[in-house]
């Protein structure tokens, strides 16, 4: 949300600022000049928020109008999705979320929309779920973990955020693949997991790389494995589970969606202007600063392909869980 509130601040010290929201005059095109709203179904301040604001700051001039970021965490994020689904289908209300909102929740809860109702238009980045332990823990590698868990099933406590979230499903997959068993401990999120790891209350945890980079570099925690096809850019020394011989990879794509009722030409236009905006030097500099990983942004085709893949994968895991 870029606000007039901030405009007050701007008025006072316009010189200090290089950019004002909505400064660009709208070019006449099919998107029109009404502001675009990026709805994210999470609270303010998280990594999605930061990424959304990078888009808002850089894509506005290319999309020809102001871009506001709206945080709608109500009803576990469902209100945000509802708001986008109910909006006039003119492309001015888009959703930005990972798969837990559009796929997992849609499959497990009674929602008024189907997974296919969300059309991904931009594939921003892939988050790579990473398993980590405290630096002085007995486990220091994937092999140590599997060995110990096989010797004594259910002796290791594994902290993850919400059940069925993107840092929990990979664990379920790995347990299916290897047959090991751990105690699953839900936490409020990455912050609580890390507190418990650092405090020595639990053995292992899963999170996304940017949130533990500094702890890893400081030698407080050891990241032991990444659930991805390739290693993470910010943690280049940490092996993937595939390298360790377990065929488990579960990256979480961060996507921008429109609802399916939005005409395809507008979807295309939005997709292109966001991508152009993120391809600028300023956008890349911001992305580097915030470790947002926006250096390989992909358009509609890639976004839709990965969305289909992820949907299938989530369906498989959920089925497997329900069979237990």
């Amino acid at each position: 949300m870029i606000f007039k509130l901030s405009k007050t601040a701007v008025a006072v010290t316009a010189a200090a600022l290089t950019f004002t929201a909505g400064a660009s005059v709208a070019a006449a095109d099919s998107l029109g000049s009404d502001p675009i709203r990026i709805v994210m179904p999470y609270g303010a301040g998280g990594s999605t928020d930061i990424t959304a604001r990078i888009i808002a700051a850089n894509a506005a001039e290319h999309c020809g109008t102001r871009i506001d970021v709206v945080s709608m965490p109500g009803a576990g994020g469902m209100e945000g999705l509802q708001f986008v689904a109910d909006a006039t289908p003119n492309g001015h209300t888009v959703l930005m979320a990972d798969y837990s909102a559009t796929i997992t929740q849609t499959l497990t809860e009674d929602t008024p929309w189907a997974v296919e109702d969300w059309v991904p238009i931009v594939h921003l980045t892939d988050w790579k779920p990473t398993v980590y332990v405290k630096a002085d823990h007995d486990i220091q590698s994937i092999e140590d973990w599997v060995e110990l868990a096989e010797a004594e099933p259910n002796s290791l406590v594994f902290g993850h955020a919400d059940p069925l979230s993107l840092v929990h499903l990979p664990l379920v997959l790995l347990e299916q693949e290897t047959g090991i068993q751990n105690v699953h401990l839900p936490t409020t999120g990455g912050g609580e997991t890390r507190t418990m790891i650092l405090g020595g209350h639990i053995d292992l945890g899963m999170t996304l790389p940017p949130s533990i980079v500094s702890n890893v570099n400081n030698g407080e925690v050891t990241a032991i494995g990444v659930f991805a096809d390739e290693r993470s850019d910010v943690l280049p020394d940490v092996p993937t589970f595939q390298e360790a011989g377990y065929d488990v990879s579960f990256e979480a794509p961060l996507l921008v969606y429109t609802f399916s009722s939005v005409p395809e030409s507008i979807q295309q236009e939005l997709s292109e202007c966001i991508m152009t905006g993120l391809d600028t030097a300023t956008a890349q500099r911001m992305s580097d600063q915030a470790s947002a990983g926006l250096d390989n942004v992909q358009g509609m085709e890639s976004a839709q392909a990965i969305y289909r893949d992820t949907t299938q994968r989530v369906k498989d895991v959920l089925e497997a869980i329900n069979q237990d």
């Binding site: 949300m1 606000f3 007039k4 509130l5 007050t8 709203r37 506001d68 709206v70 709608m72 708001f83 109910d86 909006a87 006039t88 699953h184």
Partner: protein, 162 residues
């Protein structure tokens, strides 16, 4: 039976009713099985405390009635509320608020605010002058517009009017 006793009996009935209904729900409701501790552990504890509290209120009430000291139960300084007035203001304000917010979503923030504010002042304010009724609601509308639309550009569905 005076008002204090009625009030205490009603409170006890509320606590016991809620507690027992909750326990029945735990017994017969569909609760997803959870590892080691049941999903209803906290609600169950809460229901037990509610029932305990209800019984406690009843016991105290019984003891004090026996000793003819019901007045000791009243909180010092508590005045009896005018139930009619509260019923009316609840209906007007809470019910009105539902209508008001639906109007905000469908008609427009400023228009609905001015209208609802005028209605509230007209019904509630004692000795309100006609002038006050004309001036204050637009001012409140302006304040709401400045604060919510201008300063923090609140996210509302596209409105019919202003």
């Amino acid at each position: 039976m005076n008002r204090t006793i009625t009030k205490e009996l009603l409170s006890a009935a509320l606590m016991l009713g809620l507690g027992i209904a909750g326990l029945i729900h735990i017994q017969y409701g569909a609760w997803r099985p959870a590892p080691l501790v049941p999903s209803y552990i906290m609600p169950q504890t809460a229901y037990h405390f509610l029932i305990g509290g209800g019984l406690w209120v009843l016991t105290t009430l019984g003891l004090f009635t026996l000793r003819q000291r019901v007045s000791a139960l009243e909180r010092p300084g508590a005045k009896d509320q005018d139930l009619v007035a509260i019923g009316l203001s609840s209906a007007l304000m809470l019910g009105g608020a539902v209508v008001y917010f639906l109007l905000v979503l469908n008609v427009g923030l400023v228009v609905s605010t001015v209208a609802f504010n005028a209605v509230l002042i007209a019904v509630l304010a004692p000795n309100v002058s006609f002038k006050g009724l004309l001036i204050v609601p637009p001012l409140v509308g302006l304040a709401v517009w400045l604060l919510f639309v201008q300063m923090i550009s609140v996210t509302l569905p596209p409105a019919l009017l202003f």
